[in-house]
């Protein structure tokens, strides 16, 4: 009886004093990038509902571009207003951090998404179907592949313009993910950007079964990882009595000050901290695509529509590494002697695993998938540095890498044969002789992936390895350069294939893209060369952005 009363008294105490619950204060201006994107996504859904079919495409593209540009302008405005440095603080009742890394990553995500929208909107690559230009997405996602409904939808010229609001929702989640400052916000952001991605993966126009299979795989494995993450959140709450990053960090460093009576048995129990921390890390490493949580990457990258793959490879990685950095640097810095050895192992496995497995690939999209795994390993080397240099080098690497990735996948959409994109490597033979320009551009991207000097890939790699070496991880750097050498082998192999092989008679043709994809590729090339030749300004930017707010 008494225990019931005491529990009840808890409730009543909580509910009995309405005046003591403060009204949440939301800093709308500082959250404006996220709010603009999510608002635009909702408007996009309304457009789908109310606008006639023929005008949806233009309305959606315009809306997405304007929203992303506006959100980017808002990020710039916030950064110029000093929110990245002196005025950095926690907004929305401590749920969202507005600080240098958050703004830098949000800016990167927004730019990447803007370019991704261009590739999403491309309608000149696929042959005209029934008098209508079509994009890379299924005519009607709900129609059974190969069924009558699908044929009817294709004949009617339907297009899935829903991809744009879905993309915007994903972007909204990604903006919150690296700035989330409590574990619940982190989890919600994860779901907000993951669910739209699962849907996007299933929407390919060609090879729909493969695409749907990839979406299911991604969804199942993603659900597992979400569950791990949520379980970890619960354990960490049990350990610290709070889900706020700063609160947990405080308990880790100083021990629990006021023990919550309901958690008296668990608070301060290091077992919960270690297991909980590990589970949350696993959830994030899954999104990053680190070995041994990488299994989904090749299948999903291959099956998803190529524009989606490019977006996913670039933006998801940025968001997930942002969240990982914040978790390790804000929540668990007191634990770095525990997590660093583990992360060493993960980084080594990821670098070597990605590089070695990529050698045997015969599909260009799978190859790029494994290469993205290897790159995740290189970035992890910077994460492990546990220094301010580590943060800024990772920020720089992410910015450099995402543009290269986006550009590379945009080039992949151009090389086509009768069955759609010709992604099998053997079909790329002799591309350099048919279309020297496209092959040369792709070669630039491959050289950047390989980290050849004078490209952004080298500057990024040097930055993270330098940070790692300075923090005493010299042998990690050695493993890094060895796996770079292995990785270089398969990038070079593609270049050999493109330039030194005789073109096949029935080889693919290179579609002439509209200004949209051309812009995406041109931005990729420009970013690759500028960040490679004169990286100082961007290194400064990343350097100034390298301080987390607690």
């Amino acid at each position: 009886m008494s225990s019931v009363a005491s529990v009840h008294s808890l409730w009543t105490a909580a509910a009995g004093a309405p005046g003591r619950i403060p009204a949440p204060r939301i800093e709308y201006v500082q959250l404006s990038p996220t709010l603009i994107i999510l608002g635009a996504a909702i408007v996009g859904v309304l457009i789908e509902a109310f606008l006639p079919r023929r005008s949806r495409y233009y309305a959606q593209v315009l809306l997405s571009v304007v929203a992303l540009a506006a959100a980017f302008a808002a990020v710039i405005g916030l950064a110029a207003g000093g929110f990245g440095s002196s005025k950095a603080h926690l907004a929305a009742m401590g749920a969202i951090a507005v600080d240098g890394p958050a703004l830098f990553l949000q800016g990167t995500i927004l730019l990447v998404s803007l370019i991704a929208v261009f590739t999403f909107a491309e309608r000149r690559l696929d042959p005209v179907a029934h008098g209508k230009r079509v994009d890379s997405f299924a005519a009607q996602a709900a129609a059974v592949p190969g069924g009558e409904a699908e044929q009817a939808a294709v004949k009617a010229g339907f297009t899935t313009t829903e991809v744009f609001p879905v993309l915007l929702f994903a972007v909204g989640g990604m903006l919150i993910f690296p700035s989330a400052n409590d574990l619940l916000t982190l989890f919600i952001a994860l779901e907000v950007f993951s669910l739209p991605l699962y849907i996007l993966c299933a929407l390919a126009r060609r090879q729909r079964l493969l695409s749907q299979e990839s979406a299911v795989k991604y969804f199942l494995l993603g659900a597992f990882s979400s569950a791990f993450l949520l379980f970890g959140v619960a354990l960490l709450y049990g350990y610290a009595g709070t889900v706020s990053y700063a609160g947990i960090a405080e308990v880790i460093s100083d021990g629990a000050r006021q023990v919550d009576p309901a958690l008296a048995g668990t608070m301060g129990n290091d077992v919960l901290l270690l297991i909980g921390g590990a589970l949350v890390l696993m959830g994030l490493l899954f999104k990053v695509g680190a070995v041994p949580f990488h299994m989904w990457t090749p299948d999903v990258y291959q099956g998803a529509p190529t524009p989606v793959t490019g977006f996913m490879a670039a933006a998801t990685k940025v968001a997930a590494f942002g969240a990982l950095l914040r978790l390790l640097y804000v929540v668990l810095p007191g634990m770095r002697w525990d997590w660093r050895p583990v992360m060493w192992g993960v980084a080594i496995l990821t670098m070597l695993g990605g590089a070695v497995l990529a050698i045997t690939q015969t599909d260009i999209k799978r190859l790029l998938a494994y290469s993205s795994i290897a790159h995740a390993g290189f970035i992890l080397a910077g994460v492990i540095a546990a220094s301010q240099d580590g943060i800024s080098s990772v920020l720089f690497y992410l910015a450099a890498y995402s543009f290269v990735t986006l550009g590379a996948f945009a080039v992949v959409t151009l090389v086509r044969d009768a069955g759609g994109e010709a992604t099998h490597l053997s079909k790329w033979a002799g591309l350099g002789r048919r279309s020297p320009l496209v092959a040369a551009v792709f070669a630039v991207f491959l050289l950047a992936f390989a980290g050849i000097p004078l490209t952004s890939g080298f500057a990024g790699k040097f930055a993270v390895f330098k940070a790692a070496a300075e923090s005493g991880a010299g042998w990690l750097v050695v493993v890094g350069v060895i796996s770079s050498a292995i990785a270089a082998f398969f990038y070079i192999r593609v270049i050999v294939l493109m330039f030194f092989s005789e073109p096949k008679a029935d080889g693919p043709t290179v579609a002439v893209p509209s200004v949209l994809t051309s812009t995406a590729i041109a931005v990729g090339v420009a970013a690759t060369l500028v960040l490679g030749l004169a990286p100082q300004y961007f290194l400064d930017l990343a350097g100034h952005a390298g301080i987390f707010i607690r």
Binding site: A459, F462, Q536
Partner: protein, 567 residues
């Protein structure tokens, strides 16, 4: 602010590369002349450098330029030259016009593809509806100029990072030069030849890339050490050398050795030193002979040059520590390269193995740590460049006439094409270091320098000279003398263009063979400086030599005569 002469010397060929690449597909000849023009402009700039450089001036580097580049990495755009760099820049700028001239027709579209594009019907060729935009000729000459720009910059860089960037980046154009253009003389089908070429190109790239990446780890390590001890990370060679001398920067023995090994590995692959040499015969064999010259006479010199400039000066103690092993390896290079050259059936591979043997001599001279040794090694870099260029280019002319690289396919050429045979002989004699031709002096200095410190190694290295005589003379005998082979009967002699390539090189070999003083004067102060950084002094002669005033280095001519007499 004075005129940035060093930058200009690198920028001119870089602009030339872009301009050449931009020439429209139909105007092949214009592209060739443009490339030649730019290479000559570079040569004149290199000549200005050589004139403005003052060997007697104080300070390790002259004509320096310094600009901030990537502050976050502690990287500066620092250029400067010492005598060694001046000599090698001059060599590079000198050889490139000859390479371009010699390769005048190497990148013309092959007859089959010409046929294809000239027929040009809607159903012909690879690309039915689009103009044939593949421009191999423009690409070939643009790539050569790009390599020149990068090589020049890596000779000029006094910032380790800056050097590293161009050291690595030059692999990419080299790779395309090796893999994209062949001499159509492999004696196999087009398909198989392309496969062989691409194999050679990939092997070249992977060997050098692995070397470069290992060096990258060492570069990063160097940064970490300087950042830790000096407060701010730096890659500036003079600054690090000075900090080490003043004790502000101390490397632990283990650290220094690891860093040294990282650097040396990359340079040993590039140079190439046994057992990291296996890419060279493939690359030189499959590439066209001008490209082979580019590899062995120009690009590989960056490796030996960097040993002198970076390995020895940055890590003097570790260099001394590693000296015995490196000497043995270079000795193996000398003998092994020469032995394999004797056994080759392919003319270009023979020259490649001969080069490996000669690089052994160069590295031997560098690590003998005596002024004669290092001075000789530097001279050798220049002389080997000229002599190999002469031999290889003439061999290329020979091969292009017969369409075969095999020695057995030739015979009696001297009766049909006496000028060709004669120039080939001179090039060959230079390769075997005949007294009177330039390489002799350098080889002699290397041996003297080695002998004064390591007599046994010096004696064994002499074997290399004997074997060199064997492979060169046997090559000459089998190809040029004897009964005239049927396929050779109609072989034309050297054309004007080819004579323009060969004659200056041979003149230079003779001139430097008789009067090497300009070169030695240029090089010796830099060598002395390097030795002072490494803290080595020439060993005192243990045998009292009476009545030889002066002795030492200045007795070079007297000793030359002695050896000539002995022969």
């Amino acid at each position: 602010m004075s005129f940035p002469l060093l930058t200009a010397t690198a920028v001119v060929p870089a602009i030339g590369a872009i301009a050449t690449a931009a020439v429209p597909a139909a105007k092949r000849t214009a592209a060739k002349w443009l490339a030649l023009l730019f290479s000559l402009a570079t040569l004149s700039l290199a000549a200005v450098i050589a004139v403005r450089f003052d060997p007697g001036a104080k300070g390790p580097f002259q004509l320096t330029e310094s600009h901030a580049w990537i502050q976050d990495f502690g990287v500066r755009y620092d250029l400067g030259v010492d005598g060694i760099a001046v000599a090698l820049i001059a060599l590079t700028a000198l050889l490139i016009p000859f390479v371009i001239l010699a390769g005048w027709h190497d990148a013309d579209p092959s007859p089959s593809s010409q046929l294809r594009s000239s027929r040009g019907g809607p159903n012909e060729g690879a690309e039915p509806n689009r103009p044939y935009s593949w421009r191999p000729t423009q690409g070939f000459f643009a790539l050569i100029l790009a390599v020149e720009a990068m090589v020049v910059l890596s000779f000029e860089a006094t910032d380790v990072f800056l050097f590293y960037i161009f050291f690595e980046a030059m692999l990419i154009p080299m790779y395309f030069l090796i893999g994209g253009f062949g001499d159509r003389a492999g004696g196999r089908g087009e398909q198989q030849a392309a496969a062989q070429r691409s194999y050679a190109a990939v092997k070249f790239l992977l060997y050098n890339l692995v070397g470069g990446l290992i060096m990258l780890a060492a570069v990063i390590g160097l940064y970490a050490v300087t950042a830790h001890q000096l407060g701010a990370g730096t890659f500036s060679l003079p600054q690090i050398v000075q900090a080490r001398a003043s004790g502000a920067l101390t490397l632990g023995t283990g650290t220094e050795r690891l860093l040294f090994l990282g650097f040396f590995f990359a340079f040993a692959v590039k140079a190439p030193l046994w057992p990291l040499h296996t890419w060279l015969p493939n690359a030189m064999g499959e590439a066209t002979s001008p490209v082979a010259v580019l590899i062995t006479a120009v690009v590989d010199k960056v490796g030996t040059f960097a040993m002198l400039r970076f390995c020895l000066q940055l890590f003097p103690e570790a260099s001394s520590w590693a000296t015995p092993v490196i000497l043995v390896l270079s000795l193996i290079s000398i003998v092994y390269g020469a032995l394999l050259a004797v056994g080759q059936r392919d003319i270009k591979r023979l020259i490649a193995y001969a080069s490996i043997s000669h690089f052994g001599f160069i590295i031997l001279g560098i690590f003998a740590m005596t002024s004669q040794g290092q001075g000789g090694a530097t001279l050798y870099m220049v002389n080997h460049g000229i002599s190999t260029a002469a031999l290889m280019l003439v061999a290329g002319f020979l091969i292009s006439r017969r369409g075969s690289r095999l020695i057995a396919d030739y015979g009696g050429v001297q009766k049909v094409a006496p000028v060709l045979a004669g120039t080939f002989l001179v090039g060959g004699l230079a390769t075997l270091s005949l007294p009177g031709l330039a390489p002799f002096i350098s080889e002699f200095l290397v041996l003297v320098g080695t002998f004064s410190r390591y007599p046994v190694i010096g004696i064994i290295a002499t074997l290399g000279i004997v074997l060199a005589a064997l492979y060169v003379l046997v090559l000459y005998q089998r190809t040029m003398t004897g009964p005239v082979a049927t396929e050779v009967r109609a072989m034309p002699d050297l054309k004007v263009r080819e004579l323009v390539v060969v004659a200056p090189l041979i003149a230079l070999l003779l001139f430097l063979g008789v009067y090497p003083k300009p070169l030695t004067d240029l090089v010796n102060p830099a060598v002395q400086h390097t030795l002072s950084v490494v803290d080595k002094k020439d060993p005192k002669p243990t045998v009292r030599v009476d009545a030889v005033p002066g002795g030492g280095r200045h007795g070079g001519t007297a000793q030359t005569q002695d050896v000539e007499a002995a022969k």
